[in-house]
């Protein structure tokens, strides 16, 4: 009996601060919710975005004309893309504007040149009413790293105001046609700082990130067949994965162990295999007369989503990680493919073909509560979740060429992040390290 009492007391001690912070969080959410109707951009959005002021940085001594974008412009885009904030830009601190737009906080900073090509970047988060500094950091960085540093600061602001990890420092990999050959490229999540990863004369496609983001795993046709390769991003070293199979594709990285689930073709039928990229050991996961393809893991790698044509056309199924307990998820429509499990675990996003057009849908993990996120805008496919589950990146040919877009998880606030060329099949990176130690922080 005393044990129960003791436990209860302990529970009470532990939860008291939580009650308080919950209460606080609740209050703020409610107050922000009341102004959401003002924001016409959001439209049908069910998101409660937080208005936040953005003021240009003060520029000290030095020439800053070479920046492709000013720090506050990067911040503004980060806020608007985040699915959490609506930026309220203002050329200077403007209490009237901030209070009218309910921006309880605002962000600004200062840029000073400290040496040739090096700057001191100071970023601040203030409370609008009191002008109290909520949070501030200074960094001394190379000019070219200002962007990266600003992303880093935005994630700190999100941590401060939402208590959650943001995605401003994450990356995307996708497939870009370069000189008419599909190549793998990677870039910051906002489409900037793009780097080409493959330079083959044959097709490269289906890039995914290894756990920890050190490598890209992708499909190459360099040997005349689709085969999985792993390329290290810092050394550039490449190795072929799972040579036991002549044709491999559809890689999906286990979010816990880093193992790779993939589709391998044997006798004209594709099945799912689980392989260890370090040892190249493989094991078969799916047993069926039909083909299985497009595997995806649940957030804690206990379940596997995949597509199968066992019903005559591709539909989405789910099974245990050992291939047991197969259940069908999608029943509406004839073509449902490439499902991917939300990081929060409650929903899946997938592509469905109707009338020859591809569109992005989400549904609950039991297939109920289907929501169409894209419509009447060309083909929209290959959705991928941001690691915080707030956003979905996808590719669309709505402008006539395939480009990469980011939207909120409810389909609102669609933003194009690539220009020109042909860009398809985005996959979002994992979270990086919690603290970016490469950014040298200066004392407050």
């Amino acid at each position: 009996m005393w044990l129960h009492k003791e436990l209860f007391a302990m529970f009470e001690r532990m939860t008291k601060p939580f009650y308080f912070s919950f209460l606080l969080l609740f209050c703020t959410t409610v107050s922000f919710a009341s102004i959401d109707t003002i924001d016409v951009d959001v439209g049908i959005s069910v998101f409660k975005t937080m208005p936040i002021g953005v003021v240009p940085f003060t520029e000290g001594s030095g020439d800053f004309s070479k920046q492709d974008e000013k720090p506050h412009e990067v911040i503004e885009r980060d806020f608007n893309l985040s699915g959490r904030f609506t930026a309220v830009p203002s050329s200077k601190f403007d209490l009237v504007k901030f209070s009218r737009e309910r921006a309880k906080f605002y962000v600004t900073g200062r840029l000073d040149q400290v040496a040739e090509g090096r700057v001191k970047l100071s970023c601040y988060l203030y409370a609008s009413q009191t002008k109290d500094l909520v949070f501030g950091e200074s960094y001394v960085v190379a000019m070219k790293d200002v962007r990266r540093t600003v992303h880093h600061f935005v994630d700190k602001v999100i941590k401060q105001l939402w208590g959650e990890q943001g995605v401003a420092s994450t990356q995307l990999a996708w497939v870009s046609k370069i000189d008419n050959v599909k190549q793998v490229v990677i870039a910051d999540y906002d489409g900037f700082n793009r780097r080409q990863l493959t330079y083959d004369t044959s097709i490269s496609m289906m890039p995914v990130w290894s756990l920890g983001n050190a490598d890209i795993i992708f499909v190459s046709f360099r040997n005349g067949k689709s085969q999985l390769f792993q390329k290290n991003l810092s050394t550039g070293k490449e190795k072929r994965l799972f040579p036991q199979h002549a044709q491999t594709f559809s890689p999906a990285v286990n979010p816990v162990t880093g193992e790779i689930l993939y589709a391998g073709i044997v006798d004209g039928k594709s099945d799912l295999y689980l392989g260890d990229p370090n040892t190249n050991k493989i094991q078969k996961i799916s047993y069926s007369k039909s083909s299985q393809v497009s595997p995806a893991w649940s957030p804690y790698a206990s379940e596997i989503l995949f597509s199968s044509d066992r019903g005559g056309s591709p539909q989405i199924y789910v099974m245990g990680k050992d291939g047991s307990d197969v259940r069908r998820v999608t029943f509406m429509g004839r073509y449902n493919e490439r499902a991917s499990w939300s990081p929060e675990g409650d929903r899946i996003v997938y592509t469905s073909m109707d009338g020859g057009k591809m569109n992005v849908y989400t549904c609950a993990i039991d297939g109920s509560d289907i929501t169409q996120l894209t419509s009447n805008a060309g083909n929209n496919e290959h959705p991928t979740w941001s690691p915080d589950g707030m956003l979905i990146a996808f590719s669309s040919d709505r402008t006539g060429s395939h480009q990469i877009y980011i939207m909120r998880k409810d389909g609102s606030n669609v933003t194009r992040i690539t220009n020109g060329g042909d860009n398809t099949s985005p996959t979002w990176s994992w979270y990086g390290k919690n603290e970016d130690n490469t950014l040298k922080k200066e004392g407050k």
């Binding site: 496609m205 046709f221 689709s226 559809s250 006798d267 591709p314 073909m353 020859g356 591809m358």
Partner: protein, 193 residues
């Protein structure tokens, strides 16, 4: 049963047609073999130093081999041209259509007649749908073609299948005509060296 009869009939007809048409090509395949020994003989009859004769012999052998390889490559290119006909499929289907089967019997006849030929069957899809599922569909199509040829009597060890999914369209574009042209399986013929 009816289908089988039809198939046999079609096969017989096609075989006759093919034999007639293949005859034209045949002379190109073989003639080089005869020349090599003749030249060697001429050279060795000249009673020069043994070493020089040996050099000559090697040289002529090399030339003969080169000629043979050139002939082989030429025939390979020619056969690939003859086989450039493609097997077409219906949307999201891997079943062989009647016209596909007709073409495949001709391909089968060529393969049965020429045991040196091995082939790679490549399966393709149109641009609609995901990359992933289309890889699967392409492999199903190439496998269907292989299965048909195995049933026709061609050893499966002479055939390799590969899927390109939607990655290698014959015709660019989003029209129904382009789609139909891209839903296909095609052949690459290799002649053993």
């Amino acid at each position: 049963m009816m289908k089988k009869m039809q198939l046999v009939l079609v096969t017989a007809l096609v075989t006759v047609a093919l034999l007639a048409c293949a005859k034209k090509d045949e002379p190109v395949v073989n003639p080089t073999v005869k020349e090599a020994p003749a030249t060697t003989k001429n050279m060795s009859s000249a009673d020069s130093a043994a070493a020089a004769a040996e050099r000559e012999r090697l040289e002529s052998e090399r030339l003969a081999a080169e000629r043979l390889e050139a002939e082989r490559a030429k025939v390979e290119a020619m056969i690939n041209k003859i086989m450039s006909d493609e097997v077409y499929f219906d949307f999201d289907r891997s079943e062989l259509t009647a016209s596909a089967k007709e073409l495949l019997t001709q391909v089968g006849d060529i393969l049965l007649k020429e045991p040196r030929f091995t082939i790679t069957v490549a399966g393709h899809t149109d641009a609609r749908g995901t990359e992933d599922y289309n890889m699967t569909l392409g492999s199903k199509r190439s496998e269907k073609v292989k299965e048909f040829l195995v049933a026709y009597g061609v050893s499966s060890s002479r055939m390799e299948t590969v899927s390109y999914g939607k990655e290698n369209p014959k015709v660019e574009g989003q029209s129904e005509e382009a789609f139909a042209q891209n839903r296909r399986a095609n052949f690459k013929v290799n002649i053993k060296k």
